[in-house]
Subunit: 139 residues, 2 copies
């Protein structure tokens, strides 16, 4: 499951999303999309950008994560009320949440057998179905 998009496409994707391809955004986009599926928090992305020698402020990390999410390049995963996670996999899928470590992993789609397209309340349309399988280590 490797990301096949050539690096230069990032520029185009940003433009298409109405976002100027600035140095920071390009650098962050590469950190996010050039290494397979990732589940990042603002903090973890900030740390990785520091290690990579990219000059970005934490405020810009937050802005960028939200802009990318609005543009459909990222998806926000809510598993924990103290931290926001952003998933580089925007396909329809679900998550394991490791309570002990706070880590997240995609659930291979074929492992979820069938979810009912349930009847919804009147005048409501489906935004998304999130399934979180919470796991803990065997003590």
């Amino acid at each position: 499951m490797v990301d096949l998009r050539p690096t230069s496409d990032v520029t185009q994707e940003l433009r298409a999303a109405g976002l100027r391809p600035t140095r920071q955004r390009l650098a962050l986009a590469r950190l996010l999309f050039d290494h397979g599926n990732r589940h990042e928090t603002a903090e973890s992305l900030y740390d990785r950008s520091q290690e990579a020698g990219i000059k970005v402020s934490l405020a810009t990390i937050y802005n960028t994560l939200h802009q990318f999410t609005a543009a459909g390049l990222l998806r926000q995963v809510v598993v924990n009320s103290t931290r926001s996670y952003f998933d580089t996999n925007v396909e329809d899928h679900h998550h394991f949440y490791f309570e002990d470590t706070g880590e997240i992993a995609d659930i291979p789609n074929d492992r979820i057998n069938s979810i009912a397209p349930t009847d919804l309340p009147a005048d409501m349309e489906l935004s998304r179905v999130d399934i979180i399988v919470r796991l803990r280590g065997t003590r």
Copy 2:
């Protein structure tokens, strides 16, 4: 779906959980459990307790919500990274989340057809499966 527990049982349940039945805890327990299933935030419970003329501080509301959760009287629902919701229904069930209003509702159990008992990663045991059906109003 009415709560059939006599009010006086609350005292026993608190004792059983190792919690002293103090005035605040008894009053909050009644607000929570005497009126059917509820989805409360710390703030909403605080507001309701003020209206009911109960003297409690917000800090105690937070403490109490967590103690009740640890005791299995409440269940925490994570739908939104900015607020914690507590559900008085601790049975196995799932939720609708109304994105427009921030409200939560239980999904009647028969509306979810079948969730696979998927293979789990090695050395991990299931803590819980959370399903959140996010809805928004038809514009």
